[in-house]
């Protein structure tokens, strides 16, 4: 069985990309990263790809209104690399409906809260602190046109501490994302995810 081919979309430091690469390198994840896409030319995470000779594709965010064209260019690049599964790993743009439709059921996203709480924004850890919750966490979900609302594959709880700052909470959540995201990709690669409506069931491993 050939390894599943991943297209990983990043916008910043790429720590979740690194978690995926390290899971592959220690043979915990039957996958290969076929393309890394960034919407910022200066995203430090691009270095993780370059250091491994993984192709990169940059579609710099520019003027308002160019999104459809840029995301079409991303689609073309992913198809050219034969990508099976798209992974949004810190990617900070809403994907166009055309992009989502073209990859229906084949796009994962990681979000730093226990959805449906604190969706719809880029500051979920800060929002969780402001709301005063005592438990937050991370969510790995399929991407649909309902932003942060697609079927949930994995969630991991993270305690909120009295002395947390948005940064300290975000870092503690990120540590869980670094485990949950490769685990989700592995379940997908093994064909063990069955989606029925909003629920995603995890099938037992084949013996």
């Amino acid at each position: 069985m050939r390894p599943i081919r991943l297209g990983v979309l990043i916008s910043g430091r790429g720590s979740n990309l690194l978690a995926i690469l390290e899971a592959i390198e220690r043979q915990d994840l039957p996958a290969e990263v076929a393309l890394v896409v960034s919407n910022r030319a200066q995203a430090p995470g691009l270095e993780f790809a370059r250091a491994r000779a993984i192709p990169t594709f940059v579609v710099e965010r520019g003027a308002r209104g160019d999104r459809a064209e840029r995301h079409q260019a991303v689609r073309t690049a992913l198809e050219a690399r034969g990508v099976d599964l798209v992974v949004c790993a810190g990617w900070d743009e809403i994907l166009t409906p055309e992009f989502v439709a073209a990859h229906a059921g084949r796009i994962l996203n990681t979000h730093p809260s226990l959805l449906p709480a604190f969706g719809g924004g880029l500051h979920a850890p800060a929002d969780a602190l402001t709301h005063g919750v005592k438990v937050s966490g991370c969510t790995i979900h399929f991407v649909t046109d309902d932003v942060d609302g697609g079927p949930i594959v994995l969630q991991r709880p993270v305690p909120v501490l009295d002395d947390d700052t948005p940064e300290s909470l975000a870092n503690r959540i990120l540590t869980q994302e670094h485990r949950a995201l490769p685990e989700t990709i592995r379940l997908y690669a093994e064909g063990r995810l069955r989606t029925e409506g909003r629920r995603v069931y995890i099938l037992p491993a084949e013996r």
Copy 2:
């Protein structure tokens, strides 16, 4: 220091009332239940009070529109018993603004979800299953006029399993409520809760 006097409001089987009584009886909770209020004369939980000779007060839900009068009667009964802290333990009515104002900062509620997710209804475990979350839990919070929106004191996560029914999930959450609710009351009784805006900080225990 005299034990804090509790008024516990129930509507059904009263399992959280029993958890409070058992915590008191094993001397884990410096409190006494001064009054148990039910809005259903047939609530099985009333037996836990009667078996211990704890006074009960029943304000049967009747015709629409009688809520203000009934809740005023509950206030009078609680005051007559010198209640310090009101605990909604499965109570299924929204308290009137007058009641909430009269006991501001002195009413706790337990809710079977990780608020703000799945608030505003009586079927939180079923709603969580329908939404497909992988982690739910319980929330103990202060009651304000913002239903299910008051400052959060404690939350406990509970995993959602693929074969869960609303009942099995509700029971697993209830087990956590049985621990978290007495613990919250204990922190309150020890004067260790400090509310600032929406956040509730837990002060260290005195030596």
